[in-house]
Structures are given as structure tokens and as C-alpha cells.
């Protein structure tokens, strides 16, 4: 289900290394690609996602900006209008907020309001999510705000291979793409990743594990949590199909509905707050289009309607874990 090309050569990579590799390839392949943001140049990013790129491609194509998110996104919009491919980094997704005016008022609208005379092939990368005990506002999951904004795409990978293939697709996409990277996954998983350019299309979900009893729908940092819960359920004789959405916009409703029609049960998992989240959209789609297949109501496993807590001692209460997902799986089985 992943890359279309045969995997000839591979190298073991963490997710952050795979992202660095994708950026490297994009810079090498296309002189219009420019990378910028806070600390992305000399330092190579606070998570090292842009490590070494300024040394390789120069300070014109990989550069540090002043500390101003509205400026970063707004300038990127102008660069995109004028023919470059801006790849901006927002240091943490929780610091995207000063730029939201540029995103909501402009980034998502330019194609529409110029009748496609102009378009914005811009990528905004941002580390998101919790699980690593960061200070206040460093663990936010604002993906639903973006998914709710017409005209912007939203991508959230969960593995190194996916991160690379999806990022290359995002950079080569003609439209603006938000690319959220789960901080928890940056260095915690390693796998063999194909070297060289390969693409994973936006809008194609990945079936992580197959099963006949329950569908667990998740993305980003929640995929490994769902996998753990699925493995536990499996040993109790419950077949769990875990679906990694990979992209929220465009959304692969077909894979979701096919699976739910097979299993008749759905659990949706996210670490974002509960009310008004993207998980609610998925639940609504299932309710609209597959209700007659359901043996139980859809269950959402989410964060809470409170700011993400920076309290190390109880942070893990907020972020869904395998136990909570397993409980939801039992709940839909026993309904």
C-alpha cells in the first residue's frame, strides 16, 4: 500500500532523518524550492529536520527568518505567487496561531479568489502533539482548524517511509499543504526507507493491520497507540483493522467506509481536544454513509476540552494511550 516504485535501495532512518532526506531531495531536484523559518538554517531546526541543508544549498535557499509567524507564512504566500516553492517551518504547531490570519484569510483562498490565475504551492511543516513532556503550548494538535479551512491540505504521517513519500508529494503539490509531524515519533521509530525520490499520493489512507471486527481510524502520533491496542485485542481474539489516514485533506473516505462496512464497528482516535475535532467529521461521515452497517455507535477516543497540560505528572491522562483505545474497542464489541 505504500510506495508504488519497487524498493531497491534502502537506509535505516528515523522519521526526522526521513524528513531531512525528503527536503534534501526536493532542494536538489528543483531550484525553486526554498526552506525557511526560525532556526532552520545554521542550527538545522530545533529537531534537526533541516540539519545540513543550509551548508549544502546555501543561505539563499535555506534561511533563518526573523521571529514572526505571520511574516513567515505571509512572505511564503508572496514567494509562491511569484513562482517559488516555499517550504516553511513553524517551530511548533502551537506557535502557528500568530500566522492564522495569513492562513485563513489568504493561503487557502488565493486560487479561488483569482480563479486559478494564481496558486500557492506552499508547504508549512510543523511539529505537533504531545507525549514528550514539553512546556506550555508546545504540544498542541491544531489540525482540525486547518482541515476546516477551505483550500488547504493537511498531511500527518506516522512512519519514516510515509513521512518522506508524503512530504515529497506535498512539496510537489500545486496547492498549499500543512504537514504536521508528531514530535513523539521523530526519533522513536526507525525503519528501512527507500533512498531516492518516491511519492505517496495525498488522499490515500494506509491499512496498518487488517481485521474483521473493529475499525480503528487514526493518524500521526496515535497510530502506534492504536497498533498497541489492536495487538492486545488480537490476542483476545478480536480482529482490529487499523487505518492510518495519512491525510485529512484530501480524505480517503472510501477506505474508511469499506472497512467499516466490513467490520460494522468504528473507533476514532486523536490527541486533539474532543469538541469540534476532525474525529467528529469522520464519525459524521460514517453515520451518514454507513449507519446501516453499524453494530454499535462510533466511539471517539480523544484529548479533552482543556488546553494540553504541561504537567509532567499527569500529561499522560490527556493523551490517549493503548489502554483507552482498548477500552473503546471493548465498548463497541460489547454494545
Amino acid at each position: 500500500m505504500t510506495a508504488a516504485a519497487p524498493r531497491t535501495e534502502t537506509r535505516t532512518m528515523t522519521m526526522v532523518a526521513a524528513i531531512n532526506d525528503a527536503l534534501d531531495l526536493a532542494l536538489a531536484a528543483d531550484p525553486t524550492v526554498h526552506i525557511f523559518g526560525e532556526d532552520v538554517g545554521v542550527m538545522g531546526g530545533v529537531f534537526r529536520a533541516t540539519d545540513g541543508l543550509q551548508a549544502r544549498y546555501g543561505a539563499e535557499r535555506v534561511f533563518d527568518t526573523p521571529l514572526a509567524e505571520a511574516g513567515i507564512v505571509g512572505m511564503g504566500i508572496g514567494m509562491g505567487l511569484a513562482g517559488l516553492k516555499p517550504v516553511a517551518e513553524i517551530q511548533f504547531a502551537g506557535f502557528l496561531y500568530p500566522a492564522l490570519d495569513q492562513v485563513l484569510s489568504h493561503l487557502g483562498r488565493y486560487r479561488h479568489r483569482t480563479r486559478s490565475r494564481y496558486h500557492l504551492p506552499m508547504v508549512v511543516r510543523a511539529p505537533y502533539g504531545g507525549g514528550v513532556h514539553t512546556p506550555e503550548q508546545h504540544a498542541d494538535s491544531p489540525e482540525a482548524i486547518l482541515a476546516h479551512t477551505p483550500g488547504v491540505k493537511v498531511v500527518i504521517p506516522s512512519t519514516p517511509s510515509d513521512a518522506k513519500g508524503l512530504l515529497l508529494s506535498a512539496i510537489n503539490d500545486p496547492d498549499p499543504v500543512f504537514f504536521f509531524e508528531a514530535i513523539k515519533l521523530y526519533r522513536s521509530v526507525k525503519e528501512d526507507v527507500q533512498t531516492g525520490d518516491y511519492r505517496i499520493p495525498l488522499g490515500k489512507a494506509r491499512v496498518v493491520t487488517e481485521g474483521n471486527d473493529v475499525t480503528v481510524i487514526c493518524y500521526g502520533g496515535m497510530v502506534e497507540v492504536a497498533q498497541k491496542a489492536a495487538a492486545a485485542a488480537q490476542s483476545a481474539g478480536i480482529g482490529v483493522e487499523v487505518i492510518d489516514l495519512r491525510t485529512l485533506v484530501p480524505l480517503d473516505t472510501e477506505t474508511i467506509l469499506e472497512s467499516v462496512q466490513k467490520t460494522g464497528r468504528a473507533v476514532v482516535v486523536t490527541e486533539a481536544p474532543r469538541t469540534g475535532g476532525f474525529h467528529s467529521e469522520i464519525s459524521a461521515i460514517i453515520a451518514e454513509e454507513a449507519i446501516e452497517y453499524l453494530h454499535a455507535p462510533v466511539v471517539r477516543v480523544t484529548g479533552f476540552d482543556a488546553p494540553y497540560p504541561p504537567f509532567t505528572a499527569i500529561e499522560d491522562v490527556y493523551r490517549p494511550n493503548a489502554v483507552r483505545v482498548a477500552r473503546a474497542i471493548r465498548q463497541v464489541m460489547e454494545y
Binding site: 545554521v42 530545533v46 533563518d64 521571529l67 500568530p98 469538541t275 479533552f304 482543556a306 490527556y318
Partner: protein, 344 residues
């Protein structure tokens, strides 16, 4: 650049020197701040404090400015301004609690108008304007003071705040701590401006540039700005020129982005030692009275540490506290869920 004490500790401009008692107070405040910073590192290494942004070397910039306020004024500190908050009176135990990621570090004392350290950059600057304006509308003489970094002064909120404050004549004092770096980005890459205090001109308000390692100078210019604001003279921007001798946070590795040359000379400008030389030379302090002061400062810290150690850990349902005055039905359900799962 305004200065009252040379790096060698020689006083210039005698007319503007604060009285001896104030000079000793400023020394004490800087020593308390430095002690927090030094012990903070050790506690971090021992796993007894979380990641925190050190401010050692910036004591004059923080303590001298905050010392110009009274407890009736407002303070809007960034994450790096533990020294300023302690000077206004934030209990050490609360500051420790904040950097221990305990909710007890968020509960600010009732007798102070100091806000929890702001993590997002610049976004609190307009709040200071609003607080200042509110004090004016209420007819008090209280002012609001907000801190920001050289990097933070690139954000739109910084500029909007300065413009609002000028246009609305808000009794506000803006402290811009120019410590040379925004994580890895030196000020020269942050902006083409070489004198950040002159940004004030663009908003029609006074801008002052002061040696940020000279506590007598920072105190003097901030007091003037505070007095002007109290007397209806409007806002001021003060740029304190200093240096972040330490890493961005205790977990940061500055060798990736700066050289020994960058750091050269800054240790010799140490603000604490500068005032120390002066106080000893003037006979305002003896080695013996200093030793007693240092012991007092250390004892105070250890007592605060014990107090902080005594704060109970938060309980799971606390993540839902204080979202609204009355929990919404959704929050009530979520609380029930947490409690049920706890007992499951």
C-alpha cells in the same frame, strides 16, 4: 547607551546614582536571581527541575527594571524572566513549581499582579497595553510592564502594542531585552536595525537604550519611565543591551550556532560582579556583610525548595480544572470519564 557603572565597577554620573540602600537592595535581588539560576542548573541535572531557560548574566536587565515597580503595578514576564518576577515578589517556591511543570507554579500570589511566564513570543505585549489602559480608566497611578526579547520584537504583536500604547497614551513600560540571540539567530540576522530602542520613534514614544549589564543604569532609566507613565506621560520602550551567556534552555547546545568569539568579553561585563566591585569600593558592603547576605539568600532558596517539594502532585482530573468558571456539560462528562477510568 546609558550607563552609570563601567564594567570595572567605577561609578559615573553621581547625580543619578540611586541611594545606598537601593544599591544594596539591587545587589540582593541580583544575588537571589543568580542563586536561582545556578541552583536551577544543578536541580535540573538531578532531575529535580524540568527544562528551564536560564538567565544568568541578565540579572541587571531583569532585576533593575522590575525593581522600579511596586506591588500595585503589572508585570508580564516571558519564560526567561524568572529574575524579574522574583524581584517583584513572586515567591521562589512558585517559580520552582512553574519550572517543575506543577500547577502550583501557575497560581500567582493574590497580592501581586504578575502573570505566569509567557511561552508564546510577544503575544502578551498587547495585554500590557490593555492592563495599563484599564488602570488609567480606573484612575489609579499604576503602570504595566512587559518584557520581550530581541527576537520577539520582530513579531507583529510587539509593533501593534507599541503603536496602541502611544495612540491611547497607556501607562506602559516596554522592556526589550536585547541579549543578542533568539535561540540560534543572532540579532544581526533578526533585523537590519542596530538600535532597537529607536523603534519607539516610529510610534511616537520615547525610546531608551541602556547598558543591560549595569543594574544602576537599568534601574534609573526604568524608574524614570515608570514615573513618566504614572504621571500621565505615556509609554516608553527601554532596550537593555545584554547577552545571553548561557544556552537558550538547559537542554540547548549553543556550540551548534555560536563561537567562543561571540561570547568573548561578556563574562568581564558580569552585572553582579560589577555592582559588587562598586559596593565594596564605596564601603557600602564588606566581604563579611556580603557573606552574610549570600548565606541568607541560600537559606531562603533552600527553604523555598522545601516548600516546593511539599506541593502535592496534581491529580488526573486536574487537567480539566479552570477551563471555565462553571464546567460545561461536556467537561463534566469528561471529568466523570477520567474518574471512572482512574478507578477502573
Amino acid at each position: 547607551m546609558f550607563q552609570l557603572l563601567t564594567p570595572e565597577g567605577t561609578a559615573t554620573g553621581a547625580a543619578e546614582l540611586p541611594d545606598p540602600e537601593t544599591r544594596l537592595r539591587l545587589y540582593r535581588e541580583m544575588r537571589r536571581a543568580r542563586h536561582f539560576d545556578d541552583r536551577g542548573w544543578v536541580l535540573y541535572r538531578q532531575g529535580r527541575l524540568g527544562v528551564f531557560p536560564p538567565f544568568g548574566g541578565m540579572e541587571a536587565s531583569q532585576c533593575g527594571t522590575a525593581a522600579a515597580l511596586t506591588a500595585d503595578d503589572w508585570l508580564f514576564p516571558t519564560y526567561r524572566d524568572t529574575g524579574a518576577a522574583l524581584t517583584l515578589g513572586l515567591p521562589i517556591a512558585r517559580a520552582l513549581a512553574y519550572w517543575r511543570t506543577s500547577p502550583h507554579g501557575w497560581a500567582m500570589p493574590e497580592n501581586l499582579k504578575v502573570l505566569p511566564f509567557y511561552i508564546p513570543i510577544a503575544t502578551q505585549y498587547p495585554h500590557a497595553v490593555g492592563a495599563a489602559l484599564a488602570e488609567k480608566r480606573k484612575g489609579t497611578r499604576n503602570v504595566a510592564m512587559a518584557y520581550i526579547g530581541d527576537g520577539g520584537s520582530s513579531e507583529g504583536d510587539f509593533h501593534e502594542a507599541l503603536n496602541f500604547a502611544g495612540a491611547l497614551d497607556a501607562p506602559c513600560v516596554f522592556i526589550l531585552q536585547n541579549n543578542g540571540w533568539a535561540i540560534s539567530v543572532p540579532t544581526r540576522s533578526q533585523t537590519r536595525a542596530t538600535n532597537l530602542s529607536r523603534r519607539a520613534e516610529g510610534y511616537g514614544i520615547p525610546g531608551v537604550r541602556v547598558d543591560g549589564n549595569d543594574v544602576l543604569a537599568t534601574y534609573h532609566v526604568t524608574r524614570e519611565a515608570v514615573e513618566r507613565a504614572r504621571n500621565g506621560g505615556g509609554p516608553t520602550l527601554i532596550e537593555t543591551v545584554t547577552y545571553r551567556v548561557k544556552p537558550h534552555t538547559v537542554a540547548d547546545d549553543p556550540s551548534r550556532y555560536r563561537t567562543e568569539e561571540d561570547n568573548a568579553g561578556w563574562d568581564a561585563k558580569d552585572p553582579v560582579l560589577r555592582l559588587r566591585t562598586h559596593l565594596l569600593a564605596e564601603g557600602l558592603m564588606t566581604e563579611a556583610s556580603e557573606a552574610a547576605l549570600l548565606k541568607e539568600v541560600a537559606d531562603e532558596f533552600e527553604a523555598a525548595l522545601q516548600e516546593a517539594d511539599g506541593y502535592p502532585e496534581p491529580t488526573p482530573a486536574e487537567i480539566l480544572d479552570h477551563v471555565f468558571a462553571e464546567p460545561t456539560p461536556q467537561l463534566a462528562r469528561q471529568r466523570a470519564q477520567i474518574l471512572a477510568e482512574e478507578n477502573a
